[in-house]
């Protein structure tokens, strides 16, 4: 782009130079016009027009910059010059000179040279690249990295209870001790996450009593975790009583699976 403009500016200069030469004093005057049929009023003799100035150079270097960088304009005006100026708040300049500019967006500078023979202009453009794009998001999780939900499911194990009991059994204490360590790490990794401690019961007691018993189981697990340093403010409890069994057979194996505290991402 710049290359073409540069070429056109040069050709313009050459053309101007040829024209200026054609208007020179050294050429013979043209032949008089033929006489009119009716002689008109004798016109005043046409004034001799002086040549316009010539812009020999007007460039920007470099022509493409980033925001905050500069470009240098160079110009040279020859011929019969009264004054030269560049727009974009640069104003009057010497016939020959250079100037660093710091455009914040792509800008075309116009050099105007004025002489007794008229005005000529030339342009030079400085392209400013767009603002750099925002940084990309963090890379997609590679195999091994997981969500809070998945981490809870993988690392925080259920705790099981005896019938109509909310006391943590010995096996539950060892599970909860591991759960506490996992939860402390998880809650540190996911600073906005909350863990929901769900209390569940088997199908045999009444729905009402089991809602209370499930709350006790969740509360017992919560208290155990808090004692081991899991932040209390990040734990919520909920009792589902016997409303959400994970096993629906009516035998002790299934009932034991349902008498549990389960952990899920909080809401």
């Amino acid at each position: 782009m710049f290359e073409r403009r540069s070429i056109s500016a040069i050709s313009l200069a050459v053309l101007l130079a040829v024209l200026a030469a054609g208007c020179g004093h050294h050429n013979p005057p043209p032949p008089p016009p033929p006489s009119p049929a009716v002689r008109p009023v004798e016109p005043a003799p046409a004034p001799v027009k002086p040549p316009a100035p010539v812009i020999a150079q007007f460039t920007a270097e470099p022509t493409s910059i980033l925001i905050g960088q500069s470009s240098t304009l160079r110009w040279q005006v020859t011929g019969d010059v009264i004054g030269a100026s560049i727009d974009q708040t640069i104003g009057t300049v010497q016939n020959t000179g250079n100037r660093r500019v710091f455009p914040s967006r792509s800008t075309t500078y116009t050099l105007t040279a004025t002489g007794p023979g008229g005005s000529v202009t030339a342009t030079a453009t400085v392209r400013v690249a767009e603002a750099p794009p925002p940084p990309p998001p963090p890379p997609a999780p590679v195999a091994g990295a997981v969500t809070f939900e998945q981490s809870v499911a993988n690392n925080v194990k259920d705790v099981f209870f005896d019938y109509d009991q909310s006391e943590i059994r010995a096996d539950g204490q060892s599970v909860l001790t591991q759960d506490a360590a996992a939860l402390k790490a998880l809650l540190a990794d996911f600073p906005n996450a909350v863990i929901m401690v769900e209390g569940h019961c088997d199908e045999r007691g009444s729905a009402e009593y089991n809602l209370g018993l499930g709350d006790r189981r969740a509360g017992a697990a919560r208290d155990f975790l808090v004692q081991l340093g899991v932040p209390a403010g990040r734990i919520r409890t909920i009792s589902y009583g016997k409303e959400r069994p994970q096993c629906t057979e009516s035998d002790e194996e299934c009932w034991q699976k349902n008498r549990r505290v389960h952990f899920s991402p909080g809401q």
Binding site: G205, E208, G219
Partner: protein, 467 residues
């Protein structure tokens, strides 16, 4: 083999129950005191013939279902049926003694003498009779009730009234309901035909529950709440004494919380819930101005019994902390006593306490698990579900006199039987049973007879019976 063991357990439990109490509490219904009612079928004239069968069926079911009468079997009825009082004939006066060697003349009017109904084999104390016709585009049943103990048709008449309805099955049924209501009321009973049962409906196993409503006979089943929330949904409804409000427990806002809705229009009255992991099991005080419920406030340890204003404010705890106290029910007669379920002595048992929390007494005897207490309108009798004598989780419905602690058993090991609630008439109970497989709502008389299945679609439980 397993079945045999079961039988032994059941039989042993049954014997234990029988042996452990005096046999002097016979429950609410004393069938020996019932009087005998005869209801011969009404005949229909003209277009009424098409609907009189529905009328007869409904009338019989309502009158029998009231529990007030022993129904005289139709097979004993004499050949001729009076349709109006004028059909009765006085028996001819005895003229002469039968001649020796000849049988006495039959002392019968074939159905048109009073004695044909009051004497054997019918032996009815009351006779309900009449007929149906279509008059001016309306189904009209002309209904009469006679007290056959009074000698003459003129003296015997207790009810003589027209009952009307549209000329279709529904209109005939409506007329029959109204006639039955008049009969029941005349005999000192309470008519439940216009009462409503709220209950919990679950369309599919594991789905979210919603509160539904139906008429006392199971008709007109309709959805009441539409939370469309995640499971478990809503459950445990209670009706206000005037029938204008429903309170229940819902997981609609994640943790279980109490809602109070008006019935007409159906609107959330916005009960204030304390910040707690559990707010549940609301029921109304007899004046309808307060709610008792269970809450795990203030430390998320379920649950103490609380009392609060209807909008949830002004709450204060009643029972002591440290126990699982659920299902508070205020004595409807006195208003100063609460029955509730607590695990304070081990497994769940039914207790009573004063409305200020004092004088806590266990009313079930400590055996098994006793849950779902429901006060009879008399304020002296509790119905509840109990596993006493059965395996853990095998609940049956019991009725107990709270003062004497004497009880009777109404259901007998046909599936699980829970959630008993009294009808406004104090004669019927609604309850949940799994006897047919899925949980469904049934009604029965308070002596365990006349069981009716009211629901059949999906899973239905926790009835609440209101006006």
């Amino acid at each position: 083999m397993r079945k045999l063991v079961w039988l032994a357990i059941v039989a042993g439990g049954g014997l234990f129950v029988l042996a452990s109490q005096e046999p002097d509490f016979t429950g609410i219904i004393r069938s020996s005191e019932r009087l005998r009612m005869a209801i011969p079928d009404f005949r229909g004239a003209g277009e009424a013939q098409n609907y009189v069968a529905a009328f007869n069926q409904t009338l019989w079911a309502d009158v029998e279902g009231s529990g007030l009468f022993n129904m005289a079997s139709k097979s004993f009825y004499p050949p001729r049926i009076p349709q109006q009082p004028a059909d009765f004939e006085a028996p001819p006066p005895p003229t002469r003694r039968p001649r020796r060697g000849q049988p006495p003349p039959p002392v019968t009017g074939n159905g048109l003498w009073m004695a044909d109904w009051s004497g054997p084999p019918v032996e009815a104390t009351y006779l309900t009779f009449g007929y149906a016709a279509v008059q001016n585009g309306v189904f009209v049943a002309r209904g009469f009730v006679f007290d056959m103990r009074r000698g003459t048709p003129a003296d015997a008449q207790m009810i003589a009234k027209n009952y009307v309805g549209s000329v279709d099955q529904a209109g005939a049924g409506k007329a029959a309901h109204e006639f039955a209501c008049d009969i029941i009321t005349q005999m000192g009973g309470t008519c439940i035909a216009g009462s409503h049962i709220y209950y919990t409906h679950q369309a599919v196993r594991g789905g979210a529950k919603e509160i539904w409503a139906m008429d006392a006979d199971g008709s007109n089943q309709r959805q009441f709440t539409r939370f469309n929330s995640q499971p478990p949904g809503s459950n445990f409804s209670a009706v206000s004494p005037d029938g204008s409000k429903i309170a229940f427990t819902s997981y609609a806002k994640v943790q279980p919380a109490i809602f109070v809705f008006s019935v007409d229009p159906i609107r959330d009255l916005r009960f204030y819930n304390q910040r707690a992991s559990v707010n549940a099991f609301p029921s109304f005080t007899p004046d309808g101005k307060q709610i008792v419920y269970s809450s795990s406030a203030p430390d998320d340890n379920c649950c103490r019994i609380f009392i609060a204003d209807l909008n949830g404010t002004g709450f204060r705890p009643i029972s002591a902390p440290g126990n699982i106290d659920v299902e508070p029910k205020v004595n409807p007669r006195t208003g100063n006593q609460i029955a509730f379920v607590s695990g304070r002595s081990g497994h769940a048992q039914v207790y009573t306490m004063n409305i200020d929390g004092g004088n806590v007494e266990r009313v079930s005897d400590g055996g098994g698990e006793a849950v779902n207490p429901a006060w009879h309108p008399n304020g002296k009798t509790l119905a509840f579900a109990w596993t006493r004598g059965y395996a853990t989780g095998k609940f049956n419905i019991f009725v107990m006199d709270v003062v004497t602690r004497k009880y009777i058993q109404l259901t007998h090991d046909e599936g699980r039987n829970e959630n008993p609630v009294w009808a406004p008439d104090g004669v019927h109970l609604a309850f949940m049973s799994t006897r047919g497989g899925a949980e469904q709502v049934y009604t029965m008389l308070a002596d365990g007879t006349q069981t009716q299945k009211l629901t059949s679609q999906g899973y239905n439980l926790n009835p609440a019976w209101g006006k």
